[in-house]
């Protein structure tokens, strides 16, 4: 029974079938399937999609659809994990968002989904995220990494505002900051005191692994 549920859960994610994924996640909980095993099953599929995207065999609509389908199922499974007092094995925790004034989500979504596929716990704050929202999220989730995206040269400097706010709140030493986006390069990353920059989403995942030290 458990094997059948896991196999259906994976199939629903492969089909980007959000409703199906929710139904099978709920069934997993109802039937007493280990929520960690169910999460691992989903992670296997996410890994397939993430690797396929990095190779060029999968495309953006696949990545985004897999990401949102996965999120729908994991919110159910995470509640069960918490209820049972279990701990999900994670590569680390990441808070991610596109900075204030910038509404470009694709690059951020690519990195967020690939991070989740690689086994990170990802808290996506969305787009147009103000410095104080980042600060609140860092306090709440105590992430290993804060990841920020900016596509525009006009909004890139907002990343510096967030880093300064982290310093002011005494949080800078507690979190690694990685940045990316069309307007960013290594020189800029150095100039604002970020811990890392990557030019592409797959390289961002490599960077995150190295920053989290896991």
């Amino acid at each position: 029974m458990s094997a059948e549920i896991l196999s259906n859960l994976k199939k629903a994610l492969r089909d980007y079938d959000q409703e199906g994924c929710i139904v099978w996640a709920q069934k997993a909980v109802a039937e007493g399937v280990d929520p960690l095993k169910a999460t691992e099953a989903l992670m296997e599929v996410m890994q397939e999609v993430g690797d396929g995207f990095t190779r060029g065999d999968f495309f953006l609509p696949d990545l985004i659809a897999a990401g949102s389908t996965m999120t729908a199922a994991t919110s159910i499974l995470n509640a069960e994990i918490k209820k049972r007092g279990l701990q999900r094995r994670s590569m680390g925790t990441v808070v991610i968002g596109t900075v204030f004034g910038d509404i470009h989500s694709i690059g951020k979504d690519m990195v967020g989904t690939l991070l989740a596929a690689a086994g990170f716990t990802v808290h996506d704050l969305g787009i147009d995220v103000k410095a104080e929202q980042f600060i609140t999220a860092v306090r709440q989730h105590q992430p290993d990494i804060l990841a920020m995206s900016a596509l525009l040269t006009t909004t890139a400097k907002e990343q510096k505002v967030v880093i300064e706010a982290l310093k002011k709140e005494g949080l800078r030493e507690k979190v690694k900051v990685m940045i990316g986006g069309g307007a960013i390069d290594q020189t800029f990353a150095n100039s604002i005191g970020a811990d890392g920059y990557a030019p592409t989403a797959p390289e961002g995942i490599v960077l995150a692994k190295s920053l989290s030290g896991k």
């Binding site: 980007y16 060029g56 495309f59 953006l60 609509p61 696949d62 985004i64 659809a65 949102s68 509404i103 989500s105 694709i106 979504d109 787009i127 030019p199 592409t200 390289e203």
Partner: protein
């Protein structure tokens, strides 16, 4: 079931006005009736004389009355099926369907120096495996991929290449003729129960040699389809003008069509434009000259009016390497031909003219053909594609379409995703070693050869083919040609 090919969903490109079309048509009939065509074959001349042509046996010249021309053009089927080894690969020629095939080369090239050299048997067989695997190769022409291979005596080239195609692809193909080899090609087709079309080739200006007419008789007797084409060079074997060389080419092709229809009424015939301007620097055909496109677009328009399936001059580049020149030459020739409404076109694999072919180039060109094919399929406009409900649901910013099922369903249908073109961002391109389409095509070639296995002949079919090849060897030995 038959090979799908591409369906052109909009009006074809036509550049002749009605007045211009009539002028060319009239001039063509004038050449046929008053100048005539030299046909170096007594039986053919007798057949023409019996059907109201005025024949001069001393000069082997026949003059064609317009009535006979009209009658024979009407006898040709406007659409017909040709049988492949795998019925799913049959072609249905005519109408708005366009099929693409590879452009063969005499030799292969060295991938490091790009210099030509003779292919080995293994390379010829591998080249066919690649063509069997490529999704936008719908059929194979004669002499493909190479005109021969190392160690092959000249008279055995066509029979051996024909056998190689049968062994390495289930796609439909046509063949050439030379030194009576059509006897054996026809036997192979009959042994497998398939159609192999062969060329009936005019030798401009206004001449058919006996050998090609003999081939035509054999095709007609066997009930095989024929393709009539003249290989003309404007300014050398045809007038330098596009209009004038269209007149001579049409007169030559019509003479061939009349002959075939008299030999076998209703015979399946495809006609091909194979005309090049002359390269006035070197004397060779000016491959990929824009005159090729002008000639081809006229040709397609005229033969659509005559109601006979047509093919257009091959996308042969002048370039010697897969560079920018090669790309624009092929793209313009292939796109113009596709828009003009021809039914068959040769694109994949040619590197320089018909002198060289390589699978790497064929793989790159398969993307070009995919792009053109996608364009031909046009735009679907209906409730679902207009997406009015979705537009209302998404609304202005922060609405977006990337996460929508509609996008997942439609993006691949609307776009064409190339197999080997470099479409990465700068950082990805650098990370991946600054690879070009040529690099990706080399990788793809290795991958196809490692994984794709063409459907082999059955042991009995293989026995038949080997026996026919042995008969051919004996035939040429007895003639002292082997």
């Amino acid at each position: 079931m038959a090979m799908k090919g591409f369906i052109r969903k909009f009006k074809p490109l036509e550049i002749l006005s009605e007045e211009q079309f009539q002028a060319i048509h009239k001039a063509t009939l004038d050449v046929l009736q008053n100048v005539g065509i030299r046909i170096e074959h007594k039986r053919a001349l007798q057949l023409l004389e019996k059907n109201d042509c005025q024949v001069d046996y001393t000069n082997m010249r026949a003059k064609f009355p317009p009535g006979l021309v009209e009658e024979c053009l009407q006898k040709c089927p406007s659409s017909f099926r040709v049988k492949a080894r795998d019925p799913q690969n049959d072609l249905i020629m005519g109408g708005n369907t366009i099929y693409f095939g590879p452009a063969p080369g005499k030799q292969t090239v060295n991938l490091d120096t790009w210099e030509p050299r003779e292919a080995t048997r293994k390379e010829a067989y591998e080249g066919l495996t690649i063509l069997d695997a490529l999704p936008n190769v719908h059929f194979l022409p004669s002499y493909t991929p190479y005109f021969g291979f190392e160690g092959l005596p000249p008279v055995m080239r066509i029979p051996e290449i024909c056998a190689a195609k049968l062994r390495n692809t289930t796609k439909w193909f046509f063949e050439g003729y030379s030194n009576d080899c059509e006897i054996f090609v026809i036997q192979m087709a009959q042994a497998l129960g398939i159609d192999i079309m062969e060329s009936v080739l005019a030798s401009p200006p206004l001449t058919f040699y006996g050998e090609t007419v003999e081939c035509a008789f054999r095709l007609a007797e066997a009930g095989m389809p024929g393709r009539v084409l003249p290989g003309a060079v404007c300014g050398a074997t045809a007038p330098a003008t596009i209009a004038g060389s269209t007149v001579t080419a049409n007169a030559e092709i019509i003479a061939g069509v009349v002959l075939l229809q008299l030999m076998r009424p209703g015979m399946r015939v495809e006609v091909k434009d194979f005309t090049f301007p002359q390269n006035m620097r070197t004397g060779s055909p000016a491959f990929a000259n824009i005159g090729v496109s002008l000639h081809g677009v006229l040709f397609a328009q005229i033969w659509r009016r005559y109601g006979i399936p047509s093919g257009m001059t091959t996308a042969y580049p002048s370039s010697k390497i897969p560079d920018f020149q090669c790309g624009y030459e092929k793209a313009i020739i292939a796109l113009m031909a596709a828009l003009s409404g021809v039914n068959l076109q040769l694109v994949q694999g040619a590197i320089h003219g018909e002198l060289t072919h390589h699978p790497v180039q064929a793989i790159i060109d398969d993307d070009l053909v995919g792009m053109i094919g996608r364009f031909l399929e046009g735009v679907e406009v209906n409730e679902e594609t207009l997406a009015l409900d979705l537009i209302a649901q998404v609304g202005p910013i922060p609405g977006e379409y990337l996460s929508k099922e509609h996008t997942r369903k439609w993006w691949r249908k609307e776009q064409f995703v190339p197999q080997v073109a470099d479409t990465w961002t700068y950082p990805e391109w650098i990370k991946r070693g600054k690879k070009s389409a040529v690099d990706y095509a080399k990788e793809k070639m290795d991958q196809i050869l490692a994984t794709h296995k063409p459907t082999p002949l059955t042991p009995n079919q293989e026995k038949d083919i080997e026996r026919i090849l042995e008969d051919a060897r004996t035939f040429y030995k007895e003639k002292g040609m082997l």
